[in-house]
């Protein structure tokens, strides 16, 4: 299975990258995606997660081909 992971705004700077490609063999939750991609990094408080552009909780399961995104609280408007 292969997914894309995107990072935005301050989280992109924190991770030092705007995206990762991730390959894995078993079902993963969003939380496990973060750990697999950024094991060495502290997860900033209030980080939000989306799968395919919809907000999801951290225990949501990711499927092959999904786009997962992590970002800080939004500040538009």
């Amino acid at each position: 299975m292969s997914i894309k992971v995107y990072y935005f705004a301050s989280l992109k700077e924190h991770v030092g990258s705007s995206e990762h490609e991730l390959d894995f063999t078993q079902a993963l939750t969003v939380n496990e995606v973060w750990l697999q991609a950024n094991a060495e990094l502290v997860l900033p408080q209030n980080t939000l997660a989306a799968i395919n552009m919809d907000y999801v909780s951290w225990d949501s399961l990711v499927s092959d081909g999904d786009v997962v995104a992590f970002f800080p609280p939004v500040t538009g408007g």
């Binding site: 995107y6 935005f8 705004a9 301050s10 209030n46 989306a50 552009m53 919809d54 907000y55 995104a69 970002f71 800080p72 609280p73 939004v74 500040t75 538009g76 408007g77």
Partner: protein, 148 residues
């Protein structure tokens, strides 16, 4: 219903005039227009701000804006709506966001405009980074509630 993300500075009144030319089907039915315009200030959280850049998540931005409007339509009787939001580099006094709601009666227009604005501020993936007078930059950490 229309949403627009733009890197270019825009005149909200010019955009509204243009958009209203497309509303022929609602002629005579619109009794209320409620508008909100958010403008960049030159002062925020104790500091002079000389500029700003707004990053967004293309695709999710549009999806979440659609969702804001869809939810508002479920709650109030709306004839039409328009949202325009800037991204990229912005200077003080420029417009960041325009929200327009057209309805038959004023209660719907007032409520829906405010609802969409609050929903946008809490769910649509835009992020502001401010440039300070001291030549440093800082991310805006979180939006405040508009209802206090």
């Amino acid at each position: 219903m229309a949403i627009k993300i733009t890197e270019l500075a825009f005149d909200p009144y010019h955009e509204l005039k243009l958009y209203q030319n497309t509303q022929l089907e609602h002629l005579g039915a619109i009794g209320a227009t409620s508008l909100f315009i958010g403008t960049m200030r030159d002062f925020n959280q104790g500091s002079q701000v000389t500029g700003m850049s707004i990053e967004h998540y293309p695709g999710m931005t549009e999806k979440q804006l659609d969702l804001c409007i869809e939810k508002a339509q479920g709650l109030w009787s709306i004839l039409d709506s328009l949202i325009i939001h800037r991204v990229g580099t912005i200077t003080p006094n420029e417009v960041i966001v325009l929200i327009a709601v057209w309805s038959a009666h004023r209660g719907d227009a007032f409520d829906a405009t405010r609802y969409i604005m609050e929903a946008l501020k809490s769910t649509v993936p835009f992020w502001k980074k401010e440039c300070l007078e001291t030549d440093t930059e800082r991310w805006v950490i979180s939006n405040t509630s508009g209802y206090q």
